[in-house]
Amino acid sequence: MSHDKTMNLTLHVWRQKGPKDPGKFEVYDAKDVSPDQSFLEMLDEVNEDLIKAGKDPIAFDHDCREGICGMCSQVINGMAHGGQDRTTVCQLHMRMFKDGDTIYIEPWRARAFPVIKDLVVDRIALDTIIQAGGYTSAHTGGIADGNAILVPKPEAEYAMDAAECIGCGACVAGCPNGSAMLFTSAKVSQLAVLPQGQAEAARRVKEMTETLQECGFGNCTNHYECQAACPKGINVKFIAKLNREYLKSLF
């Protein structure tokens, strides 16, 4: 099966020298691409050729290459992470494409995510939102015994589903309003149903949404594109939960 035919692809890649540079698409040929390669391996080979030719390689973010760190961030043919269900760019395989395909590769685009170089954007704003309240302030000392604090199974599952967020920012990239509501709502929801998080739930939701606004993210208008873009399948029910927590916090 590894003897599948290789492919030749045309890549239109966004190249941008720095945050202030206007940036533009450059066209590259990716030759003899194996369907078993990952998308990032394919780009690695294109970069090898660029380096050999004495040109600047395409800058892109990556780290774990197994879908857990949330570093890889590319909009491929208009879809964050390439549009395959629950898949990050690093997990995307070239078998998704066919010989002769043209592929557009762009960075996450949102005011809150300025481009650093080419496909690399600055996602510090997501950390800023977490710093505003995505934690519990109680000092817990050493690691507590497992099950010292009992959490009912449905709540534990709910919190785990929300905690699946890897903070990649695909929800922002996919949102027509450049909003980080899905990201924020996942953390708000996760902590709001757990005993340690409940005490500060009201303050947390206000601080985090206020910071979201200050960071230059847009407002949610319920397009639900974020859920479609999310490589971890974070559900928009968490945004409803955030709205609920916000309304509760007013009283």
């Binding site: 549009g83 309240g133 027509p176 947390r204 206000k206 601080e207 949404t209 208008t221 397009h223 309304l247």
Partner: protein, 236 residues
């Protein structure tokens, strides 16, 4: 930025005023005012359907305006509701545009719809229609208006309406406006439940269907009136 998560300052903040400035608060105000207008358009449609009963709409109009102070109080409420909805709608839309100024060369939307992406435009078209509609049948200042009295000495609303719909362009404007309303509400009604937080993964598809059905019913209900008049199905 906010470093007061751990101190008391937060507890003393003015909470209700945040509704007018925060990202969720303004959405909630839009949702409530939008839903209020939805209730209004439902009642308005039911009222209009009195046209199908002989003499019905003339009687309805007379009763409706029997208590001027109540009519004016209601109009005042509607103006406030609509203003909040429109002002925040424009403000939020402008912010969203600024937050996503650089668009993708290739766009591939999976869930967003024509309705959800054109809310500002359908909203502004509705505003234009509401102004025209008020000038037309409420203030009765447009040139096509003919007002008479019926056999019982009441203002002949039926005659006024059928006369106006004898102009093709007016019929077209009314039906087109109802299509625009349909688009606005096909996204807006389900959006209301999500914004209010009354939603989860099981209810979301249900609310989407309810919203769509309600939007279709409103479209058919309203558009049926110019339709039956123009086609001659409904005669005085």
């Amino acid at each position: 930025m906010s470093n007061n998560f751990q101190n008391n300052e937060y507890a003393q903040r003015d909470t209700i005023m945040q509704l007018f400035t925060s990202t969720v608060g303004r959405k909630v105000l839009m949702a409530i005012t939008g839903q209020f207008m939805v209730l209004f358009v439902i009642v308005h449609m039911l009222g209009n359907s009195s046209i199908f009963i002989p003499g019905g709409i003339n009687a309805y109009a007379e009763h409706l305006h029997a208590l001027p102070p109540l009519v004016w109080a209601f109009r005042l409420v509607m103006v406030c509701v609509a203003s909040i909805h429109i002002l925040f709608g424009i403000q939020l839309s402008l912010e969203n545009r600024a937050a996503n100024a650089e668009t993708y060369a290739v766009k591939n939307l999976k869930k967003a719809t024509l309705a959800s992406t054109s809310m500002l435009y359908t909203g502004l078209l509705l505003l234009a229609f509401i102004i025209y509609h008020l000038l037309h049948f409420t203030i009765r200042a447009t040139p096509d208006i003919k007002i008479g009295v019926d056999a019982l000495g009441r203002i002949d609303v039926f005659g006024m309406v059928t006369n106006s719909f004898s102009y093709g362009i007016i019929t077209f404007i009314y039906i087109a406006a109802m299509v625009v309303l349909f688009l606005h509400l096909s996204h807006g009604i389900q959006s209301f439940f999500q914004t209010m937080g009354w939603n989860n993964e099981k209810t979301l598809p249900v609310f989407s269907k309810i919203g769509m059905v309600a939007a279709v019913v409103l479209l058919l209900g309203y558009a049926s009136i110019p339709f039956v008049i123009v086609t001659g199905i409904l005669k005085g």
